[in-house]
Amino acid sequence: MPRHKLIASESDVSIEVDEGKDNEFSLYYVEVEESSKKGKEKQTTRDGRRRRDKNGDVSRRRASERRTTEGGNKRAEKKHERRQKTARKEGEKHGKRQRRKNADEEEAEEESNKEKKNIKNERTKTLKLEDEKEKDVKKKRKKRVKNEEDDGSSGKTKQKDCHAMPMKEKEKKKKRKKPETTSESECKSESESESDSDSESKDNQAVGVLGSLTPEELEKLKEAVEERKKLIATLKGKPWPMKKKLVILRESQEFVEKYEGALGKGKGRKLYAYKVMMMKKWMKFQRDIENFKTACIPWEMKIKEIESHFGSSVASYFIFLRWMYGINMILFGLTFGLVMVPEALMGKPYGSLPRKTVPREEEASAMNFAVLWDFGGYARYSVLFYGYYNNQRAIGWLKFRMPLSYFLVGVGIVAYSYMVVIRTMARNANEEGGGDDTSFNFSWKTFTSWDYLIGNPETADNKFASITTSFKEAIVEEQESRKDDNIHLTRFLRVLANFLVLCCLAGSGYLIYFVVRRSQKFALAGLENYGWWERNEVNMVMSLLGMFCPMLFDVISTLENYHPRIALQWQLGRIFALFLGNLYTFIIALMDAIQLKRVEEDIVKKNMTIWQANLYNGTVPDNSTAPPVTVHPADVPRGPCWETMVGQEFVRLIISDTMTTYITLLIGDFLRAVLVRFLNNCWCWDLEYGFPSYSEFDVSGNVLGLIFNQGMIWMGAFYAPCLPALNLLRLHVSMYLQCWAVMCCNVPQERVFKASGSNNFYMAMLLVILFLSTLPAIYTIVSIPPSFDCGPFSGKNRMFDVIQETLETDFPPWFGKVFSYASNPGLVLPFLLLLVLAIYYLQSTSKTYKRVNMELKKKLQTQNEENKKKNKLAALKAANELEQAKKAGEQRSNSASDLGVNEESSNIDEAGEHRQAGQNGHFIHSSQTQHTQNSEPSVSSNHTTTRPPPSRGHTSSGHLPGHPQPQKNSHSNRR
């Protein structure tokens, strides 16, 4: 509240001044000086005014002195003086606010505008001059000594009132000299810049300093001001109570304002304030962006909830799922935006071409649900599949290069996936690279695991639970790492387990092979004669194997008794092998099917020419001027279009896989949980804790399912552009379904463990799968000629000919030439060689860096130990000194001096110990830089050496560092 009053009173004063009477000026001087003399002048302006009356004579005398000395220039000086004073005063008033980095800078600016207006009213000419001067000052803020001279010179050059400017300077000096003698003020400035806690002397100094200071002192003062500024800036970072901070803030602000005001850099503040404001706005903007970003991450709360219930390993699956979702989003955007939508909007409509029409014989059943569910019928002849696309080079008014776009999107999907996976792997590796920091595992868990943002009691309960689990898992891990029991038995068991797993793998491989062969037989005989099971046998067997084999592996892995994380990795590896075997059997079967289709296609091609000849012969008598024969596109015979067949197979596989996953989830988890929950009341044993119990969430199986699913997407996306969309849908549904299932039917794992280490493991598997799934796709694209009557590449010898074609037709000829030169093996081979060399070079440098890193770490450790030793030595020395001092004290009869020494030494002792502790921490803390490291011990050694050296007689041999303490105490007690 008093602040309000103070502002009011200040404005009173300025109004007073504005009235502009000569007497008032002198009074004003007095008041300013008076008030600035007092440390708390703000609160006591009223008092100040009273005092002004009291001290009126003195001030008037001063004023009259001034008048006499300055004679004719009096009037001009007065104006300047007054201006300066008001400016300073006002500057103080609102500059305080400005520098407080507050949000009402606008107000401050308004005020400064007001101030300007006032001044303008008084004297516009001088204002201009002042403005220029102040600009100058702003520029040369750093060199204040020169500043004043510059002011004068600039004033001269402006040649308005060229007389007044130097006079003004003089005036300023004189005025400041007056209240104190030069020596006094200097003295004070000295003490001020060092201790500067006394606010009373500040003002005297403020007035006195400028007039009388030598450059060095000014420099010093500047430093002090800078220091204060720094203090103000860092004050909020100090862990002091608000009261203390407030006091210090006020003091140092006054100090800074005094001097800055006195040094006359009023306008600089505005710029500064503006800068600060912009800075703040920018920071705020960034913070908002950051907040927005985090708010945009989907399913964060769901995952947090799961994390708090089930630990980080289960959550890691969901995080992985979310990451996958993000990638599929991009893939979907590519295929949907650049392939499907353009074809649907700009391509020829359905029914215009044979490839875009359901053939006559299928028309009857094309809308049946069973057919559609199998992605036959209308679904097959749509943008969802490769065969629908036309080979027209450019479509629509945009002249969209459809075949080229199709090809590039296919390549882009793979390229993007590689990029993302590798980048993520590299980032994870980086995070793990700072591996030595894991040495604070327990401490971090204890000190930093509570999330202070939690405001919901339920969440807090979850957090308690998750923290407890994390403690437990850490302890278990620690114990696991220490424990070693019968090695031979575990070895035998592990070998046995691996043998069993290999048997399982071989069995499943054979089963799939058998089924695929059987299905080929069925296919040759015509699928129509067989039922649902025969048609879907391969998919079902694969899904079932994928479902049950992991369970089997899980059982087997209990034999091995690995640490949970390692067990997880083994499990993952095994399931990976299983899935991979399945997938490749499937692909081989598919390749066979492709060969069959191509044979069929050749036959159709031959028939086609016959059919065409018949058509023409039958309908048109005259061959030469044949009017276009109008045959309904549905009646045109067509090839089997193996690409669409491949796409369909993948889509079916994805669908059946998804269905199996969901059904397993519902039956295996939900139904089991329901049964266990409700039958438990009327059952002969405890179901909940006994045999079936509730299921645990199977992280490894789910992760692998996800990875293989993605592999299939990568493989099939070229032939069925709808695959990423389907996958997106699947991932979205499974996110919700699995979140729900995990929360309602699963129990937390008994052996919870952290999954952070396995993230890169997932990624590595994903990379392998990506590679393995692009292989067949690339093989088919490169080596098998596309179908003659369907797809964007029909009529071409190979699919990638589209690039060649584009180069020839859409680019200037020189470009094609350059390209052909560049693709010449003579250039490509050296380039590849160069790449290999670069990889080799980078690899070897990274190795070197690693080694250097290790050496540095070692060095740090040794230095740390040395430092510790040194500190111990210092403590010992201090103890010796203490001993010595005690002895000396006993010898001496003068007890008073003895006491002093003793106390001092005990202080030193304590300080030494404190330093030791503090230094250790600080030392390691700043251990990144060699420099600080080297400097730190030297400080301690300095301290130790500055003390009087202990006499040789009392070496440290018999004294422990902690030992002298009780002795000293008893000694002083005695005294």
């Binding site: 862990p239 401490s443 009691p457």
Partner: protein
């Protein structure tokens, strides 16, 4: 917002902004909430709000360290954990988004230092762990686990091996932690 701003003098407000990591809006909101806690409008600044009342804030209600937080930030002579408005601002500032690691770790240390003796010894750590694992028995660690845990903690962070963790050791540990700054936050 406008209504509440009149209660807090502008000068004081700007000084608070200078001295805390809070923005103007946050300070005004804090003031509003604080005066609601006080239960009367326009209370004098010196007046304190008892710890019980402060702990009814939803932000603190489920925090296991709520009492410690009040005690650490309280400047009351009675050691009753009551907060004045300035203490309250200090609290919010230390827990704010933009506060530095240094100040956060300092206050974290003081919060964890249950007996206020300047170091974290075994008993402090035990209390700390008990706070973290909740009050219920099923989440609590067994004595054996607790012993193991504390010895592990001390093994890691007690660099000078004096059996306690002091401030610099604590800050050293904390400064390496990836998620301390992001989790040591209270937002009104």
């Amino acid at each position: 917002m406008g209504g509440t701003s009149s209660k807090l003098p502008k000068d004081l407000l700007s000084e608070y902004q200078e001295l805390t990591f809070l923005t103007k809006q946050e300070i005004l909101l804090a003031h509003k909430i604080f005066s609601e806690l006080q239960g009367r409008e326009n209370g004098p600044y010196g007046s304190r709000v008892s710890m019980e009342k402060v702990l009814t804030l939803p932000e603190l209600k489920s925090n296991p360290f709520r009492k410690r937080i009040c005690h650490v930030f309280s400047t009351s002579d009675m050691k009753d954990g009551s907060l004045s408005f300035e203490d309250f601002l200090d609290l919010l500032s230390a827990f704010s988004d933009s506060a530095t690691l240094e100040i956060k770790s300092h206050y974290a240390f003081r919060i964890f230092d249950f007996d206020d003796d300047g170091t974290l010894d075994g008993r402090d750590l035990e209390k700390l762990v008990n706070c973290l694992t909740g009050e219920t028995d099923d989440t609590r660690l067994t004595a054996e686990e607790m012993r193991q845990l504390i010895s592990n903690i001390l093994e890691e962070s007690d660099i000078d091996k004096d059996g306690t963790v002091n401030l610099s050791e604590f800050q050293h540990v904390i400064s390496r932690s990836p998620d301390f700054v992001s989790s040591f936050k209270i937002v009104l």
